[in-house]
Symmetry: C2
Subunit: 142 residues, 2 copies
């Protein structure tokens, strides 16, 4: 790829770096958190981005960052967990997929690394969910 100079204007368009391949095919019935009985899945990284996986290894904890491509972006308040008994709450205080920029954070463990894909889990994201970033787990040292 051609190098751009630092300070050049950066497009605000996300470019998927990969995709989730999971046995979960629909949001219906999928757990709302990975820890609630979600399965393992494959994170398949597109070939152009596979170099970015260098030095990731089985056992590492990462945040898989997804883009909820079926979300509603015009929602600012929700009943958390779609439970009408919980009072309406600003989306920034919740994990609702419906929000102005529908980014999903999935803290997962890498089970295995195979060329351009990672076996990860547990993860509640459904099959076909675009992946936009992968990060080492955040630790708060202060």
């Amino acid at each position: 790829m051609k190098k751009r100079s630092r300070g050049a204007s950066v497009s605000n368009r996300l470019r998927p770096v990969g995709v989730i391949r999971s046995e979960l095919l629909s949001p219906r019935g999928a757990p709302t958190q990975g820890s609630e009985g979600a399965p393992d899945a494959w994170l398949e990284v597109h070939r152009w981005a596979a170099k970015g996986l260098h030095r990731l290894a089985a056992g590492d904890e990462i945040i898989d960052v997804t883009w909820f491509h079926r979300a509603r972006r015009d929602v600012l308040r929700v009943h958390p967990r779609s439970d009408r008994r919980i009072p309406m709450t600003g989306v920034f205080a919740t994990r609702s997929p419906d929000r102005p920029n529908p980014l999903g954070f999935h803290p997962v463990t890498i089970r295995a690394v195979e060329a351009n894909r990672l076996r990860i889990g547990p993860i509640e994201a459904i099959d076909g969910t675009p992946v936009v970033d992968i990060k080492p787990v955040l630790r708060r040292e202060s």
Copy 2:
């Protein structure tokens, strides 16, 4: 805003929901992590998105998600922390701002809430950094 039906195609363009107002004016000399002596700052939420802050309160721990608008998006390997003594590493194993989708995660504490802005910290993001999402801190329960 007009409601769209679920399943409608979702644009992959990020829309900033706010901006960081900080005494840090340049990446030069800014700490690379909030825990390394960074100051507190204001997270100013744009008025159209301010309803999303409902129920956030002083003392809450959140992840401020930023967009590194000065980053390079064509970088897949880096020396972590720009230290040439550390071997080249895939960006997905690092917190490098240079990466295909330059999202920044900043775990911070809310110090105060004032109408459409949050006092947060410590945070290493520089003045003018666009904010694209705010999330409650991730906890791994499993």
